[in-house]
Amino acid sequence: MLEIHNLRVSVEDTEILRGVSLAVGEGEVHAVMGPNGSGKSTLANVIAGRPGYEVTGGDVLYDGQSLLEVMPDERARRGIFLAFQYPVELPGVRNRQFLKSALDAVRVYQGREELSAREFDKLLREKVRETGLDPDLVKRSVNEGFSGGEKKRSEMLQMAVLDPRLALLDETDSGLDIDALRLVAAGVNRRRSPDRAIVLVTHYQRILSFVVPDFVHVLLDGRIVQSGGRELALELEEKGYEWLRDGATAGDR
């Protein structure tokens, strides 16, 4: 579904990703782990099409086609979803209208009909219940005045409503207490299916106890230095990242 080939990305002339390759197939859950500043968020944002990142080499293919020239809204309509590390507050923009506008855009692109107001409300109620978000929050402006945990759950609600094929979760687990983490993990697990894929970008192993990944990759200084199965995450939990850094440096030489 997603193929990243030797991707190099700079921000304001500083190279952040220095040749990242990664393949994510249908039905797979991947975890990309790494310390702060390793380039994890950059990777997620570049796939979603956030402005401000300069791709200096390599390519990102989605269903075999390069994404790099595709506008972010079209990426979303093709089924890519990024749960933001820092969801944006939109004062005065009601959640319901926001979600309906987004879903309408996605459905129309995919050749399906827009939902009627009634159908949409039914869907929304269902997803709100699933996500465990306070229904009163849904009546408010998008993320405005939400706590950190509420913002993350609101991202999960958006994901559930838009039903993407490829979900990228950028540190969605950070700052959550254990109950919120369980809810978020349950939302992610519900999405596991043979035709969807999930990429979890995270600093900690914690969420991986609830969402068991098929593959774990370690990103350090803009490169994937190690890939493995779930047990790699446990090893990182135990040993930290430094032992890999030494290995990476040695490998460079």
Partner: protein, 443 residues
């Protein structure tokens, strides 16, 4: 002949021509007021100096001063229809209204009231001749503190709106003053004028609309004076959408009596240069004003809100809250001064301005200022000089919305805080439409 006259000469020549058209038995009082104002205009000129001109620091009016705008001696009153007005601005059949075309009173499009429903709503020109007393006592008084723009408006004083709510009267029917520019050639200037007198313990709701055709070059130089007597409550809205090539200078002067309340919201769009000047004098205890504004600039437009609040008496409160949306290579200015005089103890004053910038080329100059000479006061100010909307727009696009839908939802959301506080449903729904193309599918 007069075609070759430029700038100031043109104003003087038109003044003479207008005076020559007055009947010999015309009001000597009016003639005196006009002449005095013309002299003041000669002395003051337009405030185009670029140095030491704090009040116009970010708005250069040289393009107005350099241009030649003719007084509209001939106004084709049929050029503007009710259907056109319904399209151009807010409208409700339930509102009482006076309509002025290029400053000229249109009896056809207006619904005057002369004491019915407790409201007096008439053309000032007629009122001056009929019973000058009350009108003369107030007309031009607050505006005497004004600059050259206000002076030249007074010099051409003729038609205008007189809105009077008698003592102890609640005027249920909102009053709508519509000042429409025809955009006819040659480039012309109009002098909208309004005098609003809210009697003791009266209640009044007022909408001023300034509208014009989308193209064409003209100059609207408007003056409004509002006197709110003791215990009165005035709900005021000022709506401005002039054409992209138009110039608009509005100068409003408000005086608030003891325990009176003035709630004003202004909306500004369009115009090559637009200025919304508002001066509020609170010189009696317990007076309060809430001044809100919403402006939206695109293309190469320029909108300037300049608010002066003078706390000259104790125990009064003023609250300013303006929001701006800037796009294209437009410019917006928010400035003004809150002055708290030494005897104005127990003053509450707040000044806040929030902006979002949708494009790299747009600029906001925001400069709130507080001058406090009393010690027992609560005063605050704050400005956010232009949060860039890029993150918000990307966030929305990452959910599948195209750029236009994302911007539209964002702009409407930002504006809704002000729009939702409007108490007139017809005005609220008009602005809702104006600030939103609506998401596909409605819903």
């Amino acid at each position: 002949m007069t075609q070759s006259l430029t700038g100031y000469e043109r104003y003087a020549a038109d003044f003479e021509a207008l005076e020559g058209m007055e009947p010999p038995n015309g009001s000597a009082w009016l003639r005196g007021v006009r002449r005095e104002a013309l002299a003041a205009f000669r002395r003051l000129g337009f405030p185009a100096e670029r140095r030491g001109n704090e009040r116009w620091k970010y708005t250069n009016v040289a393009p107005i001063a350099r241009s030649t705008f003719a007084y509209p001696f001939d106004v084709d009153m049929d050029a503007v229809t009710e259907a056109f007005l319904r399209q151009q601005g807010p409208w409700s059949d339930d509102w009482a209204r006076l309509v002025f075309v290029d400053g000229r009173f249109s009896a056809l499009l207006s619904t005057t009231f002369d004491g019915d429903d407790g409201l007096r709503l008439v053309n000032i020109g007629a009122a001056l001749h009929k019973d000058g007393g009350g009108v003369r006592q107030h007309l031009g008084k607050l505006a005497q503190s004004g600059d050259g723009f206000t002076a030249v408006n007074t010099a051409f004083l003729g038609d205008g709106a007189l809105v009077e709510a008698p003592d102890d009267t609640t005027c249920e029917r909102p009053v709508h003053l519509v000042f429409v520019s025809s955009g006819a050639s040659p480039d012309r200037v109009s002098y909208p004028r309004a005098l609003v007198l809210a009697g003791r313990n009266s209640r009044l709701t007022l909408v001023e609309s300034y509208v014009g055709p989308g193209d064409g070059r003209y100059f609207t130089n408007a003056v409004t004076e509002i006197v709110a007597q003791e215990g009165s409550g005035v709900e005021h809205y000022r709506y401005m959408t002039e054409g992209a090539g138009a110039f608009h200078v509005g100068s409003s002067y408000v005086r608030l009596g003891r325990g009176s309340s003035f709630r004003s919201t202004s909306f500004g769009r369009g115009a090559r240069i637009a200025r919304n000047g508002l001066s509020v004098l609170l010189d009696a205890p317990g007076a309060s004003c809430v001044l809100k504004g919403l402006y939206y600039t695109t293309g190469s437009e320029h909108v300037d809100n300049h608010i002066d609040v003078d706390h000259a008496g104790p125990g009064a409160s003023s609250d300013q809250y303006f929001k701006g949306i800037l796009d294209g290579s437009s410019k917006a200015v928010f400035s003004g001064r809150v002055l708290v005089r030494p005897n104005a103890q127990k003053t509450y004053a707040r000044q806040a301005d929030k902006n979002v910038v949708l494009s790299d080329g747009a600029r906001i100059n925001t400069k709130p200022s507080l001058e406090i000479y009393a010690d027992d006061v609560q005063c605050f100010h704050g400005a956010t000089a232009g949060a860039v909307a890029g993150d918000a727009i990307f966030y929305m696009r990452s959910r599948g919305m195209d750029e236009e839908t994302a911007r539209s939802l964002f702009v409407h959301g930002f504006a809704s805080e002000i729009i939702d506080s409007i108490e007139l449903p017809a005005l609220r729904s008009h602005l809702d439409r104006m600030f939103s193309v609506g998401p596909p599918g409605g819903g």
